[in-house]
Symmetry: C2
Subunit: 478 residues, 2 copies
Amino acid sequence: MSTSNLEAIFNPRSIAIVGVSTKATRGQLGGNNYLDAMISCGFRGPLYPVNPKGGEVRGLTVYPSVGDIPGPVDYVVSAIPASGALQLTKDCAAKGVKAIHFFTSGFSELGRPEGIKLEKDVLAIAREHGIRVVGPNCMGVYVPSSGVSFLSDLCNESGQVGIICQSGGNAIYVLREAANRGVRFSKAVSYGNASDVNECDLMEYMADDPDTGIIMAYIEGVKDAPRFKKALQRAASRKPVIVLKVGVTESGARAAASHTGSLSGADRVWDGLLQQVNAVRTSTIEEWIDMAVTFTFFSEPVGRRVALLGLGGGATVLAGDEATKEGLVIPAFPDEMRRRTAALLGSEAGTIINNPMDLSAEAWNVGYYPVLKVFDEYKDVDLSIVHLSLGLIARPPDTHREIWDKLVDDIVRARKDFRKPIVVVIQMATSPDHYCWMLEAREKLYRAGIAVYNSIRHASRSGTRLLRYYERKNASGR
Amino acid sequence: MSTSNLEAIFNPRSIAIVGVSTKATRGQLGGNNYLDAMISCGFRGPLYPVNPKGGEVRGLTVYPSVGDIPGPVDYVVSAIPASGALQLTKDCAAKGVKAIHFFTSGFSELGRPEGIKLEKDVLAIAREHGIRVVGPNCMGVYVPSSGVSFLSDLCNESGQVGIICQSGGNAIYVLREAANRGVRFSKAVSYGNASDVNECDLMEYMADDPDTGIIMAYIEGVKDAPRFKKALQRAASRKPVIVLKVGVTESGARAAASHTGSLSGADRVWDGLLQQVNAVRTSTIEEWIDMAVTFTFFSEPVGRRVALLGLGGGATVLAGDEATKEGLVIPAFPDEMRRRTAALLGSEAGTIINNPMDLSAEAWNVGYYPVLKVFDEYKDVDLSIVHLSLGLIARPPDTHREIWDKLVDDIVRARKDFRKPIVVVIQMATSPDHYCWMLEAREKLYRAGIAVYNSIRHASRSGTRLLRYYERKNASGR
């Protein structure tokens, strides 16, 4: 199969959702979830709910079968039990449908002959009629620019990150949490058992996709290793590819086999391949998101010499340790620069005037702007990292919100006025108020073009990975 | 100095707080914070606010000086500028005060002769009159059973964990966040510059303290290495000691020197010492809290063979990988046990019926109780770990709270009815609703005696550390 006919998946003109109920379905994750998601995401073409009983749902006519739909149908979402999958595929073939997404599970992932056979039979009919199949056993497709989505609460703004993700749950988490940190998506596909559309198709497609500038791939296993290698190589030569390869331990591989029928492959083979093509390998889902944040906000490398600024003496000692352990350089400030900073504050009591710097007691009055200005003008650092460590400050945002807001506003202003990048770490929330403040602060910061991380460790590790990516890219002359 | 006269610090009969303002001081972290904290914590003896201007605050008479206080004063908190510290110490000596805590900063930590001299002069007067000094440059003392506190929002319940922590901010974070996970404290001391009361005094005291069963120590540096080694050895032979040694890199050590005037010492020397005495070394503040949680909820070792249960196929693959990488064993379930679990569910579609196990689609109806019962009866696992991965589930607690609550109630019931321990991981919050639900779920769980962690990685690493602690303890015959 070529990747050209994936257009019906990413940009369908009409969608039928099979397995929609006209009764309340709260707590059920079936067809109605897909109907709600497409409506929330602003799908502009016709939406056709399907249920043998007919009726009406969300103001739309429910059709008894795909064949009863009056207009042409590009894309079908199946949320019916596996037992109906074969007949549905036949109906879709007769209707001229171009792609079916099977949310439906109960196929080869069960590891039993009948499930494997059913998956093969569905695919045979689909292939015969040129129908692309997404899944089965997956959340499916999210393309905010097309109004295609699999959950109502996902962000409707578009961006440059494409996600290839066997797991629906992990895709959901990334779409929610990376969006909280300013990452926006071109498209995301959770493709489950990968009976037809698989990691190779998607990697080939995204390599060429002008809407996708960064690729995130969560891989449990691949079915065609040579083709995947070639697709990955091509994609990674054109844009950053961030890989989370899982199933790397015996128990993880066992779960992957049962989850999506995947064979995980040896971990060190993956390590070699990913290094060879300069794909960025991450080892946790948090790091995977961190690199999407990093490539979103940094389109070129920055040096590793950092000025570290934050609140709290102990937090500052920890920050120095963590940044250094993760490969950043925190150069001591020369006396003149220390004097200049101290002069801003009026007093040094309760502060650490060096690098890393702690302005706990004094920062409230002076703010961060003048200090970040001194950092910006200092020739021996490449960027600043500011940490806002919520739970360790005696005056938390619960009761001193205006002070915390001022610090964020200062950072936003500094980002606009100064030359060097600023990165922010917001960490150690211990109350709902902290958490809510963090979400609001993150949004102010990312809308100003600032990358936000959850710890100094994560920010530093991401920075080191960014540098290594560009070093290798430049060394290979690409 | 001996440790016996630390009683005036941990159990004072009366407290004077010097530097209390009768005006509103929102945003200021001075004497009024201490006054509020002691009142919130329920201090039962007389509280004497002190300010040269006199007046009244929170219904209490403000005395112009310590000498003007009518009754005896055991313990004084100084929140005045460093320039008044010497006179205050003289006043305290004349009054017969037993201990002074200097929240006041501007002493040796500035690294300048005048600050160093002031600290020495204060100490000389204090020593001459048998006054113990906490600090300067620190948050001070928290003893919930005595009603002594340094912040109004700390937990008033007492427990068995004692904290030795140079850094006030880090102490605050731990007191807030570990409390959110069910850890309760006997006492905590942030001792800053350690001019008098230092890590040796506190380690010696807590080794013998019947109220302290677990010791957490955050160390930037020690001033008397042989004495500290001896104190640590004695403490660690009697109870678990969890150490977070910071200032282990050049930049961290620079910050520590400026923060509390500490010399950090070589990292590998610390590694050797901590291994030798079987103190548990952690490398981040999160791990430090994790081990306090672990020792609080596990007073004896548990095996490393785990049944892993959770929601979400991808999350389950990751869980298997992370637990295995951190040294736990996730044995595959035999066919008979898989059949038994499948029979509970009615269908296997959308699930992973093995170890690790994913019950996404079916768990909502069946619940966790019957599955945990099967785990409990299976001879080849020592405990169960359940992960509740909030942000990756399409039906989040925002809209399906009753389902999530049922899962937690099932775990609580299983903990009461079954023999083997259950550990819970709540992770991947992506909204304020998730975060609030997490805090409530944590409390239900820890009140049922269940340890809660923030990731499979953290839970597994903590379990491995617990096992190693007991292996070494048993090997040494202690």
